[in-house]
């Protein structure tokens, strides 16, 4: 195998930390096939001993390899693709690999969380090094055993080979010797052309467990003596608990206790992900879910208005002041407030040239305003967590995206040191950002601490939807100045939201327009908001890409050619210095989608919309084909092109792209959470309309730009642009522009 000289320091800490553990060799606690009955063959195939070479992997004496998948799995399929990268550099056969979910261990692993489409991008080097250093230790072990130079030892499919003396041995036989060696500082990495696993489609390692209904999710956690807990929270944002009347609920069958809990201590400085809507809630604890549900219905609470407050929060080291106003907020007022803000002076984020003068001398000005409502995440698995707090020890099991950013709050609140807290990550039944804010983990722990028993806290669907940490509501007004030759000479965006701005001032078309102005504003709110698949991009991409479609039309240009023209300008002679995209890669996905979708070919009754966007380090372009059936729009096909660098697991990457597209179409058509006097007006799927199979595209085609650039993520990038592809296709189908999401309004629920 040819090797390149790439070396890295990343992940050294992990390897050093684990060397001492490795030296003993034998590692116990193997949980392969946990929960399944093993066949005699499977038992025969189990190694007698495992040898840990670093925090990521151990090798059995029979050559089986266990690779720890460091990050939580929420459907992005990192549990398959991250170990694939380790296996590639270790140079083993994928069929000999067993994957296990790693526990939270910030010493052994870097960045164990889901978010920002970063797992593969940020894990790439350390995962490669985990495999490569282990391979190097095996080569050194062979060299030592055979008394030959290490450079002469080659590997392939889990075998060590010394050609000169015609000797070869499996990794399993050399693992005990290798485990006693020091983890090397440097190790050769494979050349990309030698990849045998990366770039080939490997099926979901949990596939069989999923289709046979094995316990995988936090909701499936079961322990001897485990109690079930649910919460009751104030019915409206802007309210807090005043008193609890549990006189009828307390004595209902199966109920153990009812009490209030406070998630954060007074004065605790919250970190970025320590967002909690209602700091004090009622906990109902009982023997079974059904019994607790009945008591939950019978419980009465009285609430009172919150007061305005300002608290200092910590955003990864930098402090910010979060202002929470009092009051009961309503959607109608929200949109009126946003409209009012748009006409006031705003914060200028970027100015190039002289935009005012450009608009003054424009031959034509195009202006449009876009809005989008709050959205609920609606993960299929409602929020839940298992906790067993016993004295000064706490064991927690469940689904969460950012364990390392939750454990501090937990430790502080329980008064238990971090080293006594063990968090095990289960498969997430969806995350999309919601499970970054794991306050329910603290709640579960507090309930267990009080009950002195293992507890599973479960939010009902209604709690999940009405006690959310939502995607903010947004508004953006765009103006474009065209000269007499229909050249874009000025561009202005004024954007804001409740309570955060969606503006990304350095994104396209910044850099492609001589006179450019981007400004924004925010409106405080007591609704809690947080990350939602491609935060901010999930709105601003739709506004920007819908607007460019309208400007292209006003300029009499083809929408793809119009964008390509701007991108050429940004590549040849960019305006400004902070443009945060690569115009050539951006143009690359547009050119590829033009070719793959057969852009320009008219099909009877098919209305096409195009969109492209760059966010979370990957480029996406989409052509959406819409038909009208029985008066309703139906997406016939989406052609999507992506540039995310090297594609680790192509079929799984396509699945992720398809999911982002379907999710985006669903939210563009139907997604909306409205509020009336602080009360969310939808609390379950009878009113909150989710996309269903009959509304999803009939076909999705995904193509990747082929290059050797280090991989970037796919959890988010296909989601933001598809909203505009929908809007632009709807315009061609219906003859008028769609500016306000959800585009299909509050139509009757299908399903």
């Amino acid at each position: 195998m040819a090797v390149s000289g790439i070396k890295t320091k990343i992940g050294r800490r992990a390897f050093i930390r684990n060397t001492s553990l490795a030296s003993g060799g034998l590692v116990l606690g193997f949980s392969w096939l946990a929960g399944c009955k093993m066949t005699p063959e499977e038992v025969d195939n189990l190694p007698r001993e495992w040898f840990k070479l670093n925090g990521y992997l151990k090798i059995g004496d029979n050559g089986l390899v266990t690779i720890m998948s460091p990050n939580p799995e929420g459907g992005q399929n990192v549990k398959t693709s991250m170990p694939m990268i380790v296996a590639e550099e270790l140079d083993v056969d994928w069929k000999d690999v067993i994957v296990e979910q790693a526990p939270l261990d910030t010493d052994a692993f870097t960045r164990q969380f889901i978010g920002g489409s970063q797992a593969i991008r940020r894990g790439w080097e350390s995962l490669r090094m985990a495999g490569a250093t282990a391979r190097q230790m095996l080569r050194e072990a062979a060299a030592q055993t055979w008394q030959v130079p290490v450079e002469e030892i080659t590997t392939g499919a889990g075998m060590l080979v010394h050609k000169g003396s015609s000797r070869s041995v499996g990794y399993g036989e050399m693992a005990s010797v290798a485990a006693k060696r020091t983890v090397p500082d440097e190790a050769p990495l494979k050349n990309l052309e030698d990849f045998k696993i990366i770039g080939t489609s490997r099926k979901n390692v949990d596939g069989l467990k999923i289709v046979t209904g094995k316990p995988l999710f936090g909701m499936d956690t079961e322990r001897e003596g485990m109690l079930i807990a649910m919460i009751v929270h104030p019915p409206a944002f802007g309210l807090k608990l005043k008193s609890v009347d549990d006189s009828s609920a307390r004595n209902m069958p199966g109920i153990r206790d009812i009490f209030t809990i406070k998630v954060f201590n007074e004065g605790y400085e919250k970190m970025f992900f320590d967002t909690r809507t209602f700091n004090e809630v009622v906990a109902i604890v009982g023997n079974s879910t059904w019994e607790v549900l009945q008591a939950k219905k019978a419980l009465k609470i009285e609430c009172e208005p919150i007061e305005s407050s300002t608290e200092t929060r910590d955003r990864f080291g930098s402090k910010w002041e979060q202002h929470t106003p009092a009051g009961l907020e309503s959607t109608n007022e929200h949109f009126a407030q946003m409209a009012a803000m748009a006409s006031k002076p705003a914060e200028v984020r970027r100015r190039d040239g002289n935009p005012e003068a450009a608009f003054k001398r424009a031959a034509k000005i195009v202006e449009a305003t876009y809005t989008a409502p709050f959205l609920a995440h609606n993960c299929m698995e409602p929020m839940n967590f298992f906790a067993e707090v016993n004295g000064d020890k706490a064991d927690l099991i469940g689904p969460l995206q950012k364990p390392e950013f939750t454990e501090q709050a937990l430790s502080e609140r329980l008064g238990i040191p971090l080293e006594n807290i063990d968090i095990k990550m289960t498969r997430l039944g969806g995350g999309y950002g919601r499970r970054s804010y794991a306050h329910w983990l603290v709640e579960a722990a507090l309930i267990s601490q009080r009950m002195m028993a293992p507890v599973k806290l479960v939010y009902t669907r209604e709690d999940d939807m009405t006690d959310g940490i939502y995607r903010p509501a947004y508004r953006a007004t765009y103006r474009a100045a065209l000269d007499a030759n229909n050249e874009l000479i000025g561009f202005h965006v004024n954007a804001g939201g409740i309570p955060e701005s969606p503006l990304e001032e350095n994104r396209f078309p910044a850099g492609a327009v001589a006179h450019y102005l981007a400004e924004d504003w925010t409106i405080d709110s007591n609704l809690t908001v947080g990350s939602f698949r491609a935060p901010r991009s999930n709105f601003i991409a739709c506004a920007e890409q819908s607007f460019l479609d309208e400007v292209a039309e006003a300029a009499g240009k083809d929408p793809i050619d119009f964008r390509l023209g701007l991108l050429e300008r940004a590549a040849q002679n960019p305006v400004g210095e902070n443009n945060d995209y690569d115009p050539l890669r951006y143009a690359g996905v547009l050119k590829l989608v033009k070719e793959k979708a057969g852009w320009g070919q008219q099909q009877e009754g098919v209305h096409r919309g195009v969109s492209a966007y760059f966010c979370h380090n990957s480029y996406a372009a989409q052509v959406l084909d819409m038909v009208i059936e029985n008066g309703q729009p139906r997406v016939q096909k989406v052609t999507c092109t992506l540039d995310c660098g090297i594609v680790v697991n192509p079929d799984s990457a396509k699945n992720m792209a398809e999911g982002g597209i379907v999710d985006g179409i669903g939210n563009a058509f139907f997604g909306e959470l409205t509020f009336k006097d602080g009360v969310p007006e939808k609390d379950n799927f009878d009113r909150y309309r989710m996309i269903r199979m009959g509304e999803a595209p009939r076909e999705i085609e995904v193509h990747f730009v082929k290059n050797d650039i280090d991989p970037t993520g796919l959890g988010e990038p296909t989601f933001p642009p598809i909203f505009a592809a929908v809007a632009n296709a709807l315009y061609r189908a219906k003859g008028h522009r769609y500016y306000d999401q959800p585009f299909l309004g509050r139509d009757a629920i299908s399903g």
Binding site: G207, T212, G213, G429, D686, A696
Partner: protein, 154 residues
Amino acid sequence: MATYTLNINGKEMQVEVDPSTPMLWVLREHLQLVGTKYGCGIAQCGACTIHLNGVAVRSCQLPVSAVGSQEVTSIEGLSENGDHPVQKAWLEVDVPQCGYCQAGQIMSAAALLKNNPNPGDAEIEGAMSGNICRCGTYVRIKKAIKLASQSSAS
């Protein structure tokens, strides 16, 4: 509380629960058959789909007292070794993302194919309209149903 003898996945099983308890919780909590999922509790998402005498029903709306001696099949009883044609097709197409809704999707699909071994697109969409997949794997679900339909026919 009352005692019920249920016919679940071909076996007799006894539970002592409140008569109003939905089969969803009987399966999940009293029998530790957790493949059937809680998603909405109001028969809108389909994550809790099981078969009652071979017909797909939402177990969150089926009280244990209404079951009697009818045959209940949950995802755990769909096949012995995960080799029901629908399960095999799901693996072949590599459908799941998060996977939470998939047992319900598979149960709806299996019931559809039992009654209609060769469904068209509109029939598939109709039969599957009660099952939400938040990750958006619908294109693959449909592809897997067609694959299962073909493999059962051959």
